[in-house]
Structures are given as structure tokens and as C-alpha cells.
Symmetry: C2
Subunit: 221 residues, 2 copies
DNA sequence: ACTCGGAATTGAACACGTTCGAAAAAGGAG
DNA sequence: CTCCTTTTTCGAACGTGTTCAATTCCGAGT
């Protein structure tokens, strides 16, 4: 894709929308590159002209879900709620959005985990996407009353995002109908996380929390 | 593999050792099933007679590493050390054993993450392998002085194993030479975890810790 | 209007993981 | 030994993701 713009943008979009539809309708494995290309009335070679790999197409789904998560969650957050409730909303909205794709949740992680590519939630190359995901938690933290202690306020969103990653992992393995167990986990974990934040005010605890924050910061290179 | 024993056991072992060698020498992707079969002087079909998939072969590597981790770590643990030091040893030994395979660390996770198969560290089907991994931490906990609070002693090994999984994830992304950053992380995190355990004695903290333990237990179904 | 150069498209081809039907080897019972 | 079943081996073949040389398309410069 050398030139910045062109009417081939339409082809690209068509491929994305086709791919996402097939992913939703037939799952990850049944949706072959040939099938996507055929459904979009282009050759397989053309599909590869726009997307470097099948994973790259899944990456589009990933971004799409992230945006949907954001646009669904933000309006549900009300200023002044306590952190636990806000977290509950953000997390539940998250698994709600992912729900239709539960059957290939593991493929998500497979792709997300690769240290290469822009998809990985951890790799340095996806710092932008990660920051955007974390900003959702930052918003929740900012809206919460009472406000979390200043000492951790800046790092809390990232920590909460890590927790979200853990819950996502649980979700992948959750074979209960409608992933009801994940919902229960969230309902319990959200207020718990909130309590932990409050706890960090305690003088004894604060020392260690500061150590932990330092540790996390250290991992950022 | 219907019959329990046979001299075909030798063929199986040959395939395993060949595969592990090629994995070590050429990495994950360069080591094709055809290459493994050829190096073991059998047909690709035969390789599939013994192993359902390439992942299955990686699973053998996984188990091999786990045993090596165990047999290297256990003799290094001394009764009476504090938990932080014991943890440091277990964790460092772990990443040490994995070291030679760092280049396909992500493949490990890819395979481990699949909700199917016996490989997954979380899936219910690999309860045995997971229990064995956790037992290494149980040993460390049992040897530590002072002993962790009774309230969490039983669940602590599993929690520590989760921490180990997190560190492994960090290790996968650690591109520093010899994964030195992961070593630093371990050296900091181990005493920190130990301090957290001590903290759980505090009356205020204990309540929440009990909630967390309940939560973890709940996730076990 | 013509040419030219890059953008876009194509379908065949490759390598890989995996499957499969059939054949060879290995036992075991008579 | 012979027959029959079971285990083991084989290699061709399939479907997939991906690559690539070749071709067509299209717009800008003259």
C-alpha cells in the first residue's frame, strides 16, 4: 500500500467487512483466506496485497472489538460512581462485546501473543493500541468517587488493564453458557479490586504498593 | 496406540528425542514434521501414528522442560530459607531451563493456550501436569521459614504459580540479552511476593485476602 | 492522444500440517 | 507352518496460508 490514498480503499474495506462477517458466521478456521477473497470477489493474491496475513485480518477484528467496547462502555459510565461499579461496567461490556467470538477466543490470544506484529497487546509496537485500551480504564478511574490515592492514580489504569487481560484469559476457557462464570467472576472481582485500591492507603501497605508500582514501571524499560 | 507396551516404544522415543533436538537446533518453524520424520528415518505418516499433531510433540518438550525445572530446582531449595529466596531460586531456575528455547517462546504459549488438548496449563484436562508444576511451589512454601499464614498456606502455591505464568509471559517478550531483564524482574518480584504474604496477616488485609482466596477457589468450578 | 510507471490483480505454485487407504510386519491360535 | 487379527509403516493426496512472476489497470506528464 504505497500511496496514501486511492479508491482501492474501498476494496480494502470490503475485504475487512467480509472477513469480519465470515469470522462471525463461521468461526476462525472455517474462514479461509480463499473464502474471504471469493466472498469479496477478488483473488486470494489480492487479499494478500492488502493484508500481510490472515492474522492481520484478525487484527482488524481485534481493533473493531476494541472500538465497540469503548463506544459501548463510555456512555454507561457515570461520574461519581465508585471504582468497583465502574470497573464492573467496563469489564462486563468487554466480555459482552467479545461474546459472539468466544469460539475462537484462543485464536485471539495466539495472535495477540506473538512478540512480532502490531497485534500483540504487550509488544512495544502496539503501544498505541494498548494505550487506547488503557485509556478506557483511565477514564473509569478519573470518574470514580472517591478518587484513588494519588500515589497510584497514574499507574492504576494500566494495572486494571492487566487484570482485564487476566479476566479475558479466564473468559477464553469459560465454557459455561453465555460465559456466565466470567460474569460472576467480574461481579466479584470488580469490588475486590476497588477494595484493594482503598487498602493501598494504609501506611504499611503503601510501602509495598510503591515497590510494586516501581516494579511495573521498571518493566516498561 | 492401542496396546500398552511394545518395542515400538523405541520408535516413539526416537521421534521425541529427534524432535526435541531439532527444536533446539533449528527452532519451531524450521522443524517441520517431515524433517522430524526424515531425521528419525520414518515416514511422516508414522510420525502421525505416534503423535496426533506437531503441537503434541511440542507438548513433549513442555513436559521435558517441566521435569528438568523440577529436578534442577528441588536440590537448590534449603529448608529454612525465607519464601522470597526460595521463590527466587524456583523462578530463576525456571527461566534458565527455558532459556535455550526463548526464540519460540510464543509458540509455547500458543500451544499452551488452546482450550483443547492436554497441553493447556489452564484447561481441566491438564490438571495433572498443572498440579505437578504447582507442587514445586508447594515444596518451596513448605520449606520456607517463617511459615506463611495458615489461612492462605494451602492456596499460596497456586497463586505463586500464577505469578510464574505472568513472569513467563514477560520472559517471552524479553528481548534483552540472556533475558537479563526477566532475571532482574524475578530478583525484585520474589521478595515482594514474600512481603505480600506477610502482609496478609494484618487484620484489615486478611479480610480481603480471604475474599480473593474464595474467588480463586470459585474459579475452579 | 500517447506513453509510461507504478498500483492493483491474478492464478498458479510452494511448503507445510494433516489425513487416509492400503500394504507390510508382527504376533497368536490352531 | 498357516491363517487371521492387530499393529505399524508408508507415501500419495488434500486443504491451508502464503509467495510470486506475470498481467492488467489507471492516472499523470508530455
Amino acid at each position: 500500500m504505497p500511496s496514501p490514498t486511492a479508491k482501492s480503499e474501498a476494496t480494502r474495506e470490503l475485504l475487512v467487512s467480509t472477513a469480519l462477517r465470515l469470522f462471525r458466521e463461521h468461526g476462525y478456521e472455517k474462514t479461509t483466506m480463499r473464502a474471504i477473497a471469493a466472498a469479496a470477489d477478488v483473488s486470494t493474491g489480492s487479499a494478500y496485497y492488502y493484508f500481510a496475513s490472515k492474522d492481520d485480518l484478525v487484527h482488524e477484528l481485534y481493533r473493531s472489538l476494541q472500538e465497540e467496547h469503548r463506544s459501548l462502555a463510555l456512555p454507561r459510565l457515570r461520574e461519581g460512581q465508585n471504582l468497583g461499579e465502574l470497573l464492573r461496567i467496563v469489564l462486563n461490556t468487554g466480555v459482552g462485546v467479545m461474546g459472539p467470538y468466544h469460539d475462537f477466543g484462543s485464536n485471539f490470544i495466539n495472535i495477540a501473543i506473538k512478540p512480532s506484529a502490531t497485534t500483540s497487546p504487550f509488544g512495544s509496537e502496539s503501544a498505541v493500541a494498548r494505550a487506547r485500551a488503557i485509556s478506557l480504564f483511565r477514564q473509569a478511574v478519573a470518574m470514580s468517587r472517591p478518587q484513588p490515592p494519588l500515589a497510584i492514580r497514574d499507574d492504576l489504569p494500566e494495572l486494571l488493564w492487566y487484570a482485564y487481560m487476566g479476566i479475558t484469559l479466564f473468559w477464553v476457557y469459560d465454557s459455561s453458557p453465555d460465559q456466565i462464570r466470567t460474569r460472576r467472576l467480574i461481579d466479584q472481582a470488580a469490588p475486590l479490586l476497588s477494595k484493594l485500591v482503598i487498602l493501598s492507603r494504609l501506611p504499611v501497605v503503601r510501602k509495598i504498593v510503591e515497590d510494586i508500582v516501581q516494579l511495573i514501571r521498571g518493566t516498561r524499560q
